[in-house]
Symmetry: C2
Subunit: 409 residues, 2 copies
């Protein structure tokens, strides 16, 4: 059992800052910097959108060429620097040049992340100020760092795990921003995970890929995929606790999985206008991939999300969404349960509503009571194989529409 803390004390060798560079109004934090004293083994996962923002392209190049030399990540909000052509790429490079100069490292050791409106150029005067201020304020304020990444997020999201092993201890800590366009969103899903554990590059890459598959890839706020999404894992080794045996690696992986799941779920909970947290437990699909597709299709269905919002046990919309996921699906083999909460215990899936293709004679009042909860657990067993997936999602509310109709104003 991994104990995820909602705070970050410190991670050896890392210093961070979140400052006001003037991108947002009212002195809100809008520029963040994360810096390691040593070179980091670094792995990244990037948006699958064919429209990739300039910082995504730049980081992909740098992590490929110098995966063992990365030292810093600079992050701005308000402008996503996506769909900005050569000038956008130039601005991303210039940002990293400034960070490198201030930190006295090479520009190739700097990553940059942007989030905000697509199609606007970075205001370089404000970015310059952000770089200067953030270097000046480097310290341990992870809360300010997470706050400085926010767009329509309502609260900073950060957490850490401290791991004790027979041959030493280490910490893994992470910050994330999300909100809408999660699967992931407009405002983008950005996450930086750092650790002072001593990993090889290969371990770093494997650990991030595995963790990402069961955390950030399993959340859906609105089904849109941003041009800017990325997650990086930086390991600076400064705890000198090496990950050597398979058991060590398993311990590290479990801790990283728990941390990223916590952060991913925090993104859903803080989704734009969200009033309900919904867990979709898909079982019995013909493969894990099919289960994932079914879960994503249900989670991205506006109709299903509207029903969640309205406390409506309109389970037919869930089954109908599963039916259009474009994977093998047999209604006559399918059963559906609903209950409250975020986990189920001892395979008690709750109220059986639909059994082998036919509605049961469940009491509508019981279903209504469950759907009125702010945390709903839905189990869909497709009855045709062993494929499974767990997806975390939310409802769609009037506030979502308001937020996204007004985002740029």
């Amino acid at each position: 059992m991994v104990n995820v803390q909602e705070t970050i004390a410190s991670v050896r060798g890392f210093r961070v800052a979140g400052v006001h560079a003037g991108l947002k109004k009212d002195n809100a934090l809008d520029f963040a910097l994360i810096r390691s004293r040593n070179d980091c083994k670094t792995a990244g996962v990037f948006t699958t959108n064919k429209v990739k923002a300039a910082p995504v392209l730049l980081n992909m190049e740098r992590i490929t060429k110098n995966p063992e030399k990365i030292r810093a990540v600079a992050i701005n909000t308000v402008s996503a620097n996506a769909c900005t052509g050569w000038q956008g790429m130039d601005n991303a490079r210039k940002t990293s040049d400034m960070v490198a100069e201030q930190l006295e490292i090479a520009t190739e050791q700097v990553l940059v992340m942007s989030t905000g409106v697509i199609g606007t150029h970075l205001p370089m005067d404000k970015i310059t100020k952000g770089v200067e201020l953030s270097v000046e304020h480097l310290g341990h304020d992870w809360g300010a760092t997470a706050a400085a990444m926010m767009t329509t997020d309502t609260r900073p999201k950060f957490a850490s795990v401290k791991v004790m092993t027979a041959h030493g201890e280490y910490t893994i800590a992470g910050v994330v921003k999300g909100a809408g366009m999660i699967a992931p969103n407009m405002a983008t899903m950005l996450s930086v995970i750092v650790t002072d554990a001593d990993l090889t590059l290969e371990q770093t890459q494997t650990a991030l890929k595995t963790a990402n598959t069961q955390s950030y890839n399993q959340i859906v706020v609105d089904g849109d995929t941003s041009t800017n999404d990325m997650v990086v894992l930086m390991a600076n080794g400064m705890s000198t606790t090496a990950i050597e045996s398979d058991y060590d690696m398993e311990t590290f992986q479990n801790a990283l999985n728990a941390l990223t799941q916590y952060l991913a779920q925090a993104v859903v909970r803080d989704g734009e206008g969200v009033t309900k947290f919904v867990t979709l437990d898909i079982q019995g699909a013909d493969s894990d991939e099919s289960a994932q597709k079914i879960g994503h299709t249900i989670a991205a269905s506006i109709l299903t999300k509207s029903a969640f919002y309205g406390n409506d046990p309109n389970w037919g919309r869930i089954v109908a969404a599963a039916g259009r996921a474009d994977v093998p699906f047999e209604p006559a083999q399918t059963s559906l349960w609903i209950t409250t909460g975020e986990e189920i215990f001892e395979e008690d899936y709750g109220l059986l509503i639909f059994k082998s293709g036919t509605p049961t004679d469940y009491e509508e009042a019981n279903a209504l009571e469950i759907m009125a909860d702010d945390s709903i657990y839905i189990t869909l067993n497709c009855g045709i194989g062993d494929g499974k997936a767990t997806i975390w999602t939310c409802d769609i509310s009037h506030d979502y529409i308001s937020i996204n109709a007004d985002y740029r104003s």
Copy 2:
């Protein structure tokens, strides 16, 4: 130029009715019947959802076995008879048995359609009443027929085309219901097209398939696909105007295309909570199929739809949606224009906002003025091939959420 009429005078040999069977409250029409005096050559297109409602399965079987003998279609609202197992199938058959008995035809000559909530059984006492009343009231009231198909639709949708040829005239007429879950929706897209032209079965099938591809398949309200969608074309030949030459067939096809496009667009205009009609003109994709996928992805994006609702020229969301359509796409080759209206003339695409991967220096005020119109025309040229598609869609408003959060109550 085909002249689509917003009325239906009569179509030889067809009688119709829309009655109140007690499914809806307040004497609202809720049961429809369409009957031909002669056997009809009949073609159908059905939902691709793997969860198919009982009436869909029944009609697929009947149109396959007896494509030249169909005589009647009975349609009920309120209950979709989907996810209802063997009992649902039994109820669909019983409905057709009653219609057949009253009309003194074989049950295999009867089609049935249902729309409404998924997972509830047909109330057979009310269905019985609907059959009796509708047979009693058979006549020419197409408006009542279209009204009796409605769920969350706000107005009946029906139209006709009269075609004059050198060797005689004929009429094509159609009714449609839609609203939400269009692509198509919850409440389902159902359409019945009838004609007194004298077509062969093969002509009927080809004509419907072609017409459907450029009409009902090109509209997106919310991106959900219903368990109940279907479109049928019934040709009873009673005008004795045969479709013989290629020219005759082309004339018929053009008329049917215009009629189905008119009806499809009427569905978008009457979409749940719609305040804007949006035309997406996708050009330069690597194939027509890719263009269609790009258009559908943009049209189904909640973020893009929210921006339409907010009059927000947030074109980055459009390009980002195109980038996740899972087809070849090169932002650096892509350009985007916006203008008002539902058609463009002389290739005047309006305001160029994004050119070959970079924002132009367009005036924000001009873009805002265009987006504030209730009819927007967006041209996206992908710059990599000859593939094209036109998609008709709409915004998502607070009313959509309200309607779908409350649908069952």
